[in-house]
C-alpha cells in the first residue's frame, strides 16, 4: 500500500504524519483532539465529553473555532491549527492578551474548561473586536463550566476588550 501522509500546521509548526494503525500513526478514525494530544503531545486541548457537547476541546482551524473531538485529523490536512499552546509568544513566553486577562480576572476554578474558552474568545475578538454582551454570551454558550466561573470569564473578556482600545 502506498504511504499516505497528512500535513498539519499546528501553532506555526509543520507536522507530517503518516496515516495508518501503527504506533505514532494517524488512523483515519482519529479525531483532531486525539491526534493533538497523543501524537503531538499538545495536552492543553482537553477532552471533556469526546462527543462535541461541552466545548472543552475547542481549537482554531483556519482561524475558526471547531470542536476538535468531533473533527477528524485527516480532514485537517494542509490546514492551520492553533491550540492553547500556540497563543503565547513562542520566543518570550509572553501571554496573549486573552490569556493575560483570564489570569488577572481569576477566570478559572478547576481550569479544565479554560483552554477551550480562551480559544473561543480569541476567535470572537478576532471577528468582532467590540462584541456586545449578548454576542459574548452567545459565543461562549457551547462551553460547559461546572464550577460556574462564567461571571469572571465575562469580566476577563471585558478586560481584554478594554486593553485593546
Amino acid at each position: 500500500m502506498p504511504e499516505v501522509l497528512i500535513t498539519l500546521a499546528v501553532n506555526g509548526q509543520k507536522y507530517i504524519l503518516k496515516i495508518g494503525a501503527g504506533q505514532g500513526e494517524v488512523d483515519p478514525s482519529h479525531t483532531l483532539a486525539h491526534t493533538l494530544r497523543e501524537n503531538l503531545g499538545l495536552t492543553g486541548t482537553k477532552a471533556g465529553c469526546n462527543r462535541g457537547e461541552c466545548g472543552a476541546c475547542t481549537v482554531l482551524l483556519a482561524g475558526k473555532p471547531v470542536l476538535s473531538c468531533i473533527t477528524l485529523a485527516v480532514e485537517c490536512d494542509g490546514k492551520d491549527i492553533t491550540t492553547i499552546e500556540g497563543l503565547e509568544d513562542p520566543h518570550t513566553g509572553e501571554l496573549d492578551p486573552v490569556q493575560q486577562s483570564f489570569l488577572e480576572s481569576g477566570a478559572f476554578q478547576c481550569g479544565f474548561c479554560t483552554p477551550g474558552m480562551i480559544m473561543s474568545v480569541k476567535a470572537l475578538l478576532r471577528d468582532l473586536p467590540e462584541p456586545t454582551d449578548e454576542q459574548i454570551r452567545e459565543a461562549l454558550s457551547g462551553h460547559f463550566c461546572r464550577c460556574i466561573t462564567h461571571y469572571h470569564v465575562l469580566e476577563a473578556v471585558g478586560r481584554t476588550i478594554g486593553k485593546s482600545r
Binding site: I84, G106, G111, R146, C147, I148, T149
Partner: protein, 750 residues
C-alpha cells in the same frame, strides 16, 4: 484586629494561574507512564442479574489485549460501608455495573475487546424506588441487608456517629404548637454533580505490596487510607494531578483504583483507566435520593416546637459511606432550625441504580431540599415571612446541636443575622415579598416570584490536618500539605497564609506536590474545611518554623527569640533600628522545619443564604432564573476572586438547577438512565445566566490567626428549596416537586 495584611484578603493570581491559561496544567488524562496499558470496563446491560456464564477467550485473543478479568479471577479487595463490595461480583446490581475488565495496548483495542466477551445473565427482579424497596416482597439486593436497609453506623466518624435527630419530647412540642402541618416532599431526581473532567486513575505496582496511584482526587491522603484498609494493608503512594472538578465526587475513586490495579497486577504493567462521559453519567456518582415525610409544629411567632418524621434515603446499589452523609444531614438540619423537640428517623435504602456517593451538599442539601418545603407549609399557614423565619431560627452562638460524631456541641461562631439583613437589602426582599403564594409581579403570562433558603455546616472544622513548613536559607519557604488544586484555590491560599505569617513575598512560598510520599497526614479539602482546618495546620507549621529560625538567630543577637522579628528574609531586633541580617547569615547549611496540626472542632458553623427571583411563563411552563443574591460572613476573606467564584458555584454541580431542569431520568421499565450525555442532561449556559450579586461580610470568627472560616462546599445547598418557594409564589400554588420542568408546572397550574 490587624487588617493591614500583605496578601490575606487581597487579589493575588493563583499560583497555578499561568499554567492553567497556557494549557500546561497537567490533569490525569495528560499523564503517561512508559509501558502503560489502557483499561476499559464491560458494563451490565441489566439492572439486576446473575452472571451464569462468562467467556473471555475471544476477547483475550484480540491483538493488543493483555488481560481480561472477571469476578472469578480478581483480588479480594473490599469496599463499601459496611464492607459489601468487591472489585467485581457475580451479581450485577445496576445497569452499568462492572462485569469484566480489559487491559490493552491501546484504548481502541480494549474497547473492541469488550464486544468479544460473551456473557449469559439470569435476570433478577429489580427495584428502583426507595418506597418499593423497603416493602416485604421487594427484590433483595444483598442477603446481608434484609429489607434493602443499610445499618446507619459510620465508624470513621466515631463510635457514636449520628444516626437520627432525636431529642426532647415531640408530643409535648406539638401540644404547645399553634400550627401543625403534615406533609411529604421528594428530592429524588438524583442530579449528577458532573465535573467536566471524567474520573480517571493510573496505577503502577512497584512491588508485591507497593502501589503507586495517580488520580484526580483532591484528597490524596484520604484515598491512600481507604486503599490501605480496602486492599489488605498495602503500602500506597497516592499522587494527585490537577483535578478537573470534583464537588466531592472524586475524593474517593477507589473502585477505579481497584479495577486498574487488578489489571496492573496480572499484566505487570502500569494501567490507566479513564471513564468516558457516558460512564461518568451512568456508572459514577449521583446525589442521594431523599424524601421527608413528617409533621412540624410551630408557634405563630415562628418558634419551631416539634419536628417528627421519616427521612427515606435512596443511595442506589451500594453505600459508599452514605452513612456519613446521613450523619451530616442530621446535624445540618439542626443548624437550620432552633428546636428543642425532634424525632427524625432516617432509613438508608439500596435500589438497582448507580450509586449516590460523596457530593457537595453531603446529606444536608438532600435532607433540607425535602424538609424545607414541608416546613414552608407551616410558615405559610402562620403567614410568616420566610426570611424573618430563617433569621430567627438559624443557629446562633450558644445554641447546642448534635454533630456527626454524636456529641453535643455548642455554637461559638457568629450571629449571621447581619449578613442575612445585608443580603435581603441588596436583593430587595422586603419590596418583593408579597406573601405566600403571591407573585412579586404579573405581566401577562409572565409571573415573577421570590424565594429564600439558608444552609450551614459545622464540618468546616472536621477531621485532622498536618503540615510542615521548611524555611530555606535563601529566604524561601516550602509548605508540605497534601492538597491538590480542584478549583477552590486552596493550595494558593495556604501559600498566602504562610507568606503572611513569615512576612515573605508570596513568590517565595511554594507548596509541595500532592503526594503522600512527601507530605504528612491530611484529610483533604472537603466540606469547606480548607480555610480553618488545613489553614490552621499550615499557620501553626509556619509559626513553628519561624520560632526555630528566630531561636537560632537569638544566639547571634544575644537576646531572646521573642525580641526578634523577620521580614522579607531579614532578621532584626523589634523596635530598634539595629542590625538586619539575612537568614543565610545564620548558616547556608541549615533549614528550619515547623510542624502544625489541627484537631477536629465542630463548634463553628459557616453560613450562606440564597435569595432567588424567578419568572414563570404560565403559558409555556418555562422558568427563567432572573436574579440570585448570595449572602455570607466568612470572618476574613482570604482570596476575593476565589471566594466570589465559589459563591457563583451555587448555579453548578447539581445545585440550583436541580430544582429547575437537572435530573437523571431513569426508565423504570428498562432500568437504565435515558439522558447519559450532555445534550439530554440539561445544564445552564452563558446565554441563561441570571444576574448574580454577593454579600460577603468579614466579622472576625474565633478560628485561627486570620479569623476566617471556609465557605465553598455549602453554597449549592439552600438553592433548590428557595427555587421551589419562588416558583410557588410566582404561580400562586404550592409546587413541591423537583425539578420544576415545564410539564410539571403546567400539570399543576391548569
Amino acid at each position: 484586629m490587624q487588617k493591614d495584611f500583605r496578601y490575606i484578603g487581597k487579589e493575588t493570581p493563583r499560583k497555578d494561574a499561568a499554567s492553567i491559561v497556557r494549557g500546561k496544567a497537567k490533569y490525569i488524562d495528560d499523564l503517561k507512564l512508559p509501558g502503560m496499558l489502557h483499561a476499559r470496563v464491560l458494563r451490565s446491560p441489566h439492572a439486576h442479574a446473575l452472571i451464569k456464564e462468562i467467556d473471555t477467550s475471544r476477547a483475550a485473543q484480540l491483538d493488543g489485549v493483555k488481560a481480561v478479568l472477571t469476578y472469578k479471577e480478581i483480588p479480594a479487595w473490599r469496599g463499601g460501608l459496611p464492607s459489601h463490595l468487591g472489585v467485581l461480583s457475580q451479581t450485577v446490581r445496576f445497569t452499568g455495573d462492572a462485569v469484566a475488565l480489559v487491559a490493552a495496548e491501546s484504548e481502541a483495542a480494549a474497547e473492541a475487546a469488550l464486544d468479544l466477551i460473551d456473557v449469559q445473565y439470569e435476570l433478577l427482579d429489580a427495584v428502583y424506588d426507595a418506597e418499593e424497596a423497603v416493602k416485604p416482597d421487594a427484590p433483595q439486593l444483598y442477603a446481608q441487608f434484609p429489607g434493602n436497609l443499610f445499618p446507619l453506623a459510620c465508624p470513621w466518624m466515631g463510635p457514636n456517629s449520628l444516626q437520627q435527630v432525636v431529642m426532647g419530647d415531640v408530643n409535648e412540642g406539638f401540644a404547645q404548637s399553634d400550627i401543625i402541618v403534615e406533609g411529604s416532599c421528594k428530592y429524588d431526581n438524583i442530579p449528577n454533580p458532573l465535573p467536566l473532567e471524567p474520573p480517571g486513575v493510573i496505577v503502577s505496582w512497584e512491588g508485591p505490596d507497593e502501589l503507586v496511584v495517580w488520580s484526580s482526587t483532591q484528597a490524596p491522603y484520604f484515598l491512600k487510607m481507604l486503599l490501605y484498609y480496602g486492599m489488605g494493608r498495602i503500602n500506597v503512594r497516592s499522587i494527585s494531578a490537577h483535578c478537573g472538578g470534583s464537588f466531592g465526587t472524586k475524593a474517593a475513586p477507589w473502585p477505579l483504583v481497584y479495577q486498574a490495579a487488578a489489571l496492573a497486577k496480572v499484566t505487570r504493567r502500569p494501567v490507566k483507566l479513564f471513564y468516558s462521559k457516558a460512564e461518568h453519567f451512568a456508572a459514577y456518582t449521583l446525589r442521594l435520593g431523599s424524601t421527608f415525610s413528617g409533621k412540624i409544629g410551630i408557634k405563630r411567632d415562628g418558634r419551631v416546637m416539634a419536628v417528627e418524621g421519616e427521612w427515606l434515603i435512596n443511595t442506589g446499589y451500594c453505600s459508599d459511606a452514605a452513612q456519613g452523609m446521613v450523619a451530616v444531614g442530621c446535624g445540618e438540619v439542626q443548624l437550620l432550625i432552633r428546636c428543642a423537640n425532634w424525632d427524625i428517623r432516617p432509613k438508608l435504602v439500596c435500589t438497582n441504580r448507580s450509586a449516590s456517593k460523596m457530593v457537595r451538599g453531603y446529606g444536608g442539601q438532600e435532607l433540607e431540599s425535602a424538609f424545607l418545603p414541608v416546613l414552608s407549609m407551616a410558615m405559610e399557614k402562620a403567614d410568616l415571612d420566610p426570611f424573618e423565619f430563617f433569621k430567627k431560627n438559624y443557629v446562633k452562638p450558644g445554641d447546642d446541636y448534635y454533630w456527626r460524631d454524636g456529641n453535643l456541641w455548642t455554637c461559638r461562631g457568629t450571629d449571621y443575622a447581619q449578613a442575612m439583613e445585608k443580603g435581603a437589602e441588596l436583593f430587595g426582599w422586603k419590596e418583593k415579598w408579597k406573601g405566600w403564594l403571591k407573585p412579586a409581579s404579573v405581566n401577562g403570562a409572565k409571573r415573577t416570584g421570590v424565594g429564600v433558603g439558608v444552609h450551614g455546616n459545622a464540618d468546616v472544622g472536621e477531621d485532622v490536618s498536618e503540615a510542615y513548613v521548611r524555611l530555606e536559607p535563601n529566604a524561601t519557604a516550602v509548605i508540605y500539605s497534601c492538597v491538590s488544586e480542584h478549583g477552590t484555590g486552596q493550595p494558593s491560599n495556604l501559600c498566602k497564609m504562610a507568606a503572611e505569617v513569615l512576612k515573605l513575598p508570596l513568590e517565595a512560598v511554594t507548596l509541595t506536590p500532592p503526594d503522600t510520599l512527601v507530605n504528612p497526614y491530611e484529610f483533604g479539602p472537603v466540606g469547606s474545611r480548607g480555610t480553618y482546618a488545613i489553614g490552621s495546620a499550615v499557620i501553626n507549621a509556619a509559626m513553628d518554623a519561624r520560632q526555630k529560625l528566630l531561636t537560632r538567630a537569638a544566639a547571634m543577637f544575644q537576646c531572646e527569640p521573642e525580641e526578634l522579628d523577620t521580614e522579607d528574609g531579614m532578621i532584626f531586633h523589634k523596635g530598634e533600628k539595629g542590625e538586619r541580617i539575612p537568614w543565610k547569615a545564620l548558616s547556608v547549611e541549615h533549614t528550619y522545619i515547623g510542624y502544625g496540626r489541627f484537631e477536629p472542632d465542630f463548634s463553628v458553623p459557616n453560613f450562606v443564604m440564597i435569595f432567588v427571583e424567578v419568572e414563570v411563563d404560565i403559558e409555556t411552563g418555562k422558568i427563567e432564573l432572573k436574579r440570585v443574591v448570595g449572602a455570607t460572613d466568612v470572618g476574613q476573606i482570604i482570596d476575593p476572586q476565589g471566594l466570589r467564584n465559589q459563591m457563583h458555584g451555587c448555579l453548578g454541580s447539581a445545585g440550583i438547577d436541580s430544582a429547575i431542569f437537572e435530573e437523571s431520568i431513569l426508565d423504570k421499565k428498562l432500568g437504565r438512565f435515558l439522558n447519559t450525555n450532555m445534550l439530554d442532561y440539561k445544564w445552564r449556559t452563558f446565554a441563561e445566566l441570571p444576574v448574580f450579586d454577593s454579600v460577603i461580610l468579614e466579622t472576625p470568627i474565633d478560628t485561627h490567626l486570620f479569623k476566617a472560616v471556609g465557605f465553598g462546599e455549602i453554597v449549592t445547598s439552600p438553592a433548590p428549596s428557595a427555587v421551589l418557594m419562588a416558583v410557588s409564589n410566582a404561580v400562586g400554588k404550592r409546587l413541591n416537586e423537583y425539578p420544576l420542568t415545564p410539564d410539571k408546572i403546567l400539570k399543576n397550574i391548569r
